[in-house]
């Protein structure tokens, strides 16, 4: 399994998202290294198809496939929690559902 964590430092949500991702992987017994990629420029965002920070892909698949369709941009990404509230980080449920 390949886990990618892409972030842009201009958005403050990435430490929380990475911590949540690590916790979910650990809880599921997946001692998986995370490929952490910092996106520095708009050129990088386009090259990496980065729709906002943070973006998490498991085996190449975005944990929020609808959000992955947004244009590449150095911005904070909007996730939706199970109750519909907006959030700058994905929900635990989204991460768990993305696991193989």
């Amino acid at each position: 399994m390949k886990v990618e964590f892409l972030f842009w430092e201009g958005c403050p949500s990435y430490p929380e998202a990475r911590e949540l991702l690590e916790a979910v992987l650990t809880e599921h017994g997946l001692e998986q290294p995370i490929d952490v990629i910092e996106v520095l420029t708009q050129h990088d965002a386009v090259r990496l198809a980065f729709p906002g920070s943070p973006t998490i892909r498991i085996d190449g698949r975005d944990v929020d496939e609808a959000g992955a369709l947004s244009p590449p941009s150095l911005t904070c990404r909007v996730y939706r929690l199970p109750d519909g509230r907006p959030s700058p980080v994905p929900s635990r449920q989204q991460l768990e559902e993305a696991l193989p």
Binding site: G10, C11, T75, S87
Partner: protein, 174 residues
């Protein structure tokens, strides 16, 4: 960038398609300017609370004004027309103004969205920073903005005058 000490002059178009100036709010005993935008998840998390504060304190003359200064060329979701649509969808009761030149954001010394600036009746800054201490409303323990409004209405110094705003960066034009 340092934060402003008195309210900046402005005359900006609002989502109601009227211009709004600092002078228009002269009768408000407390004026709150909130650096904001459409696309930021932190704004989306806090905007209902900001809107609710306006409803709560409207009777006492408090005015809360959101201002978006983001570069809409780089971030089309923050265009003026998108602001009009967002304010309608989010049922804003606050004024929502477009600072296309970014002059007001620079004057305020704003860096994040959302970022609140509370001015008293003399338009002196009495609070700057976050709305409260948690983007999840159920977990809030400190109501910085509400407490600052209450203090300013009472002619007192807010218990907390400055906090670090948590949110997206203002999207400056290059």
């Amino acid at each position: 960038m340092s934060v402003i000490e008195t309210a900046p002059a402005f005359d900006l178009p609002g989502v109601d398609r009227r211009n709004h100036s600092l002078a228009e709010y002269a009768d408000a005993p407390v004026l709150v300017l909130v650096q904001s935008c459409n696309h930021c998840p932190y704004v989306l998390a806090w905007e209902d609370r900001i809107n609710e504060l306006q409803r709560q304190y409207a009777g006492q003359g408090v005015r809360i004004v959101a201002i978006s200064s983001n570069d809409a060329d780089a971030y089309p979701a923050d265009s003026f027309e998108a602001m009009v649509e967002h304010a309608r969808e989010a049922t804003y009761v606050i004024d929502y103004l477009y600072d296309e030149s970014q002059i007001v954001a620079r004057a305020l010394g704003a860096e994040r969205t959302p970022e609140a600036f509370v001015f008293d009746a003399d338009r002196a800054l009495v609070y700057h920073g976050a709305v409260d201490d948690n983007r999840n409303e159920a977990d809030v323990t400190a109501h910085y903005l509400r407490d600052a409004i209450e203090a300013a209405l009472a002619g007192e110094t807010p218990p907390v005058a400055d906090t670090a705003p948590v949110g997206c960066t203002v999207k400056w034009r290059s």
